[in-house]
Amino acid sequence: MRKIWLIVKREYITRVRTKAFILGTLALPLISAAILLISIFLSGGVSGQTVRIVILDEVGGLGGAVQKSLARNTTEAHPEPVVVHIVEHPSAQQELYFNTQVATDQLDGVLVLPKGLMTGTASARFHAKHMHALALMGPIERAVSDAIIARRLNAEGRKSRSMENVFKLARVQLVNPSSDQKEEGPNETNFAIAIIAGMVLYMTLIVYGMSTMHSVMEEKSTRMIEILVSSIRPFELLTGKILSVGAVALTQYLVWAVTVGLLFASAASVAALVRPGATVPGISLSPMLLVYLVIFFLAGYFLYSALYAAAGAIVSTDEEARQAQMPLTLMILCSFMLFNVILNNPNSTLSVVLSMTPFLSPILMTLRVAMQTPPLWQIVLALAFSIATTIYVIRISARIYRVGILMYGKRPSIKELRRWLRYS
């Protein structure tokens, strides 16, 4: 155990201080920051833009007050709300009609003031789907609150009601008309997060797999391996190596999670600073997704890095290394090619089967988790399959590694490899 720890420590320290690691670690936060800034700038010339709204007033006589107060509450920083129509006591058909208009972009938003609004038993609903309309959420909430408080003061304020009830603020619920409201389907944000999560996994698996391979090759080509295995069992050395490269990857993940998290958390203030009033892409990373990302990264990483280590052990030159790592990289690429199947329908039979297939599951299951969390049993089953495969793969890899690290000649044929597996 002590020796494995020594290996882990040495590899970790030498690796973390390389330029490649530092640059790679900084790249993602920098790219995210760039994307964020670009999207802030592209989020539309906010001022000067108008948002056409229809108010459906089920309470009666409240629509006008909201309209006036809305005009007072919006500043130059906001898109200008234009209330094109106020319908008092709308029918169900009318509501459906206007919602369809929002969905088809003929209208920017529908504000519904339901019956229970005055008593605080229901909240107002704002149906909208575009960023610039969403930017009005704050002003709308204030406008509705102003209007109902004013009404309560006028009509009932002098009765012996507690002031608390009078000043109870309105709540406005945001509704996206393009998605089915009952069954929450994958929306654009989930898509983006799923693809980003998939890509991060895909890239880190390849990068850290190759990293393990090169680490094995370095010990072989410098002949350091001779001294090492005279002090430590090859299996311990392999274990230490895989653990340390994994720890380096997790360090990178941690830095990424913290920096990108901070970035998005501070996005609003950044936006206000660079371009007041600009809207901010509402990406929120759920912590659960991060947990799954780490779990599936580890599942994939142990599986693939053991294979990459074996590949590193059987080769002696860079050219042989390129050939040997090809099938492994293709396997990872395969998951990447299957992104579409999952993105199209994460719950189709094909998606479910693929996301549980060993070698594919780490990336594809993460994709499903990011889009719409699948039943727990599927996640657990995928992990169980993956771990079983990994144990088997590590046993084979360790045998190849043990023989390969001391062979400096030509790359062995498949037949020779099979013989290596039998060497004691």
């Binding site: 020796k3 020594l6 040495r10 030498t14 390389t18 370095e218 010990e219 080509s221 410098t222 002949r223 350091m224 001779e226 001294i227 090492l228 295995v229 005279s230 002090s231 430590i232 069992r233 001391l406 400096y408 020779e416 013989r419 004691s424």
Partner: protein
């Protein structure tokens, strides 16, 4: 107790036996020379002693114990194929390797400083390995082999690539280790080093033992059948087929192997007759080199 004992050890590869049924004992405190032509199985044998390779048959014991992690820590090993991590600092790498051999890290670092000082590398201890010359790297590797004061030191071709000054420094350290009671196994092609340093030897060829034992005893058994001569003049006088088996020329100097019963005086006479100036004429034990060549070619014949 023997420092190392091998009993009928065999290591098999696909097409050949690298080592076949090899038995030998190495006495504690000795400097032992493992000799043989390329491909004789020397490195395979050493690798089995340090437990890099596991024998297919037979058993190996180090200081009376069967091989284990514990015996690995009793051995210091300088492999023939050598190298170090390119991007580590000298002090770091020695601390790491010392710790792998069971030293606490602080102690490994303390000793590494002392050794670097002694071998003239203290001003380089924070340099990365790839900035050092090969000779310097080799000295670092040597330190790595002895830093944990192992009772058994195995050195595979320790002097190749070293200049005479550094070779002498390493030799001094080896003799000092021996004085402290360590056993040293030396594998080399350089016979004069073996003659200078080794107490006993084992000559291997094709995975088998050809000759083993105390160096002096071996040489004596070959008798004084060699004449070492230095002369000026035409070497034609050496064409005495009835007396001389063969000659090995070293430029100025020549070693002459006599046929059994050949009289050395005849050579001297022949030289005088032809007017050759003799500067040196000495009857000696055969050089190890001759024994080596003779033994190997006997097998081929």
């Amino acid at each position: 107790m023997d420092a190392v004992s091998l009993e009928k050890v065999t290591k098999r590869y696909d097409s050949f036996d690298a080592v076949s049924s090899l038995s030998m004992e190495i006495k504690e405190g000795a400097v032992f020379g493992l000799l043989g032509p390329n491909g004789a199985g020397k490195t395979t044998t050493l690798r089995m002693i340090v437990r890099i390779l596991i024998p297919d048959e037979g058993s190996v014991r180090v200081l009376g114990q069967p091989l284990s992690e514990r015996t690995q820590e009793l051995i210091g090993y300088l492999p023939e194929e050598r190298g170090l991590y390119r991007h580590m600092r000298l002090l770091e790498i020695l601390r790491f390797l010392g710790a792998l051999k069971g030293l606490p890290e602080a102690e490994a670092e303390r000793r590494a400083r002392l050794w670097l000082e002694r071998l003239g590398l203290s001003d380089r201890m924070n340099d990365e390995v790839h900035n050092l010359s090969r000779g310097m790297q080799q000295k670092v590797q040597f330190i790595a082999a002895v830093i944990h004061r192992p009772p058994l030191v195995i050195l595979d071709e320790p002097f190749t690539g070293l200049d005479p000054v550094n070779a002498a420094v390493i030799k001094d350290v080896m003799l000092e280790l021996r004085k402290q009671g360590a056993t040293i196994i030396l594998s080399t092609h350089r016979m004069e080093q073996v003659e200078q340093m080794c107490d006993s030897i084992c000559l291997m060829n094709k995975g088998q033992k050809l000759l083993a034992g105390d160096l002096k005893v071996i040489k004596r058994s070959y008798g004084n059948n060699t004449v070492r001569m230095e002369f000026a003049g035409d070497p034609v006088f050496l064409q005495l087929p009835g007396i001389i088996e063969r000659t090995t020329s070293y430029g100025e100097m020549v070693d002459i192997t006599l046929r059994p019963g050949g009289d050395a005086q005849q050579i001297l006479k022949s030289a005088v007759e032809r007017g050759v100036q003799v500067r040196r004429f000495e009857l000696i034990e055969p050089p190890l080199n001759d024994i080596f060549i003779q033994k190997i070619s006997e097998r081929h014949a």
